[in-house]
Symmetry: C2
Subunit: 164 residues, 2 copies
């Protein structure tokens, strides 16, 4: 990848991808415990609900495009939400391959119930940070996410030139 001092030690608890993974998993465990315990809702299902609350009438592919979920996850979440009566779908007339998705009344009620609690959770979390850090965080995540995608997609082979 890039030639650093080849003998630099890696300290796991200081390693950024590891730290992000631990944090994200901790949050995810809290939240999914809450979704599951209170509402019989898995995290992928919640994501689908949240996205459709904002953008009713999306197709499954549309949900995929807006959520970093893969299409199998979306397909399964949608199937379960349909069974639960939280979602309805209608085959498109022009293109009979796709179906558009909408929240039912029950789905909308669920969203109105869960969304404020999720936001309250986020607020509690952010109170760990100063106002200044809260404001930086959004930008930092955006930059890191963009870079992570570039690295994953191999658009960056090795840019660093031993910056010392």
């Amino acid at each position: 990848m890039s030639p650093n001092r080849p003998d630099a030690a890696l300290h796991l608890e200081q390693f950024l991808p590891y730290r992000l993974s631990v944090l994200a998993n901790t949050l995810s465990a809290s939240l999914s415990g809450f979704y599951a315990g209170q509402h019989d809702l898995s995290p992928p299902e919640w994501r689908v609900i949240a996205v459709l609350a904002q953008s009713p009438g999306l197709t499954a592919a549309g949900v995929v495009a807006r959520t970093a979920m893969d299409k199998v996850a979306v397909s399964r979440a949608v199937a379960r939400l349909l069974r639960q009566g939280r979602l309805s779908r209608r085959q498109s007339a022009e293109d009979r391959r796709c179906t558009t998705l909408e929240l039912t009344r029950a789905g909308q009620a669920l969203y109105r119930n869960v969304a404020p609690q999720a936001l309250a959770y986020e607020r509690e979390l952010l109170q760990a940070l100063s106002k200044a850090d809260q404001e930086r965080l959004g930008g930092i995540l955006e930059l890191l996410t963009a870079r992570a995608r570039e690295l994953r997609d191999g658009r960056i082979i090795s840019a660093s030139k031993d910056p010392g």
Copy 2:
């Protein structure tokens, strides 16, 4: 980050736990592709290697304590690393329940090979950020992780008093 009233809409792509999850998963996919492709090594296995490189002679429980991994994951990773000859273990004389773990020469060689590449990857990633943001990030992650654990363990019920 998000100025939300109790009835504010939740926008998934702005929701901190979601964003962290997407970022962590992207990084994890890159890295585990690399570990697996180049070294036949799973992420949990890599974590065990990294921790033992720093702290030889830990028990499995010691690895658990230092890594947010659960004991089943550690047990499985250790079993596989033993089979691969990357780890050795010795039953403790005082307490015959526990075994101490050490990297073999092969394990050490693997660590010396992978660690610099992982660090290089981290460096590439961090170059997305200004020097100032790089320095803030560590502190932010520490604060968020601590708060996330408090929330998960229920030590905080609801502290916020509508700060808006």
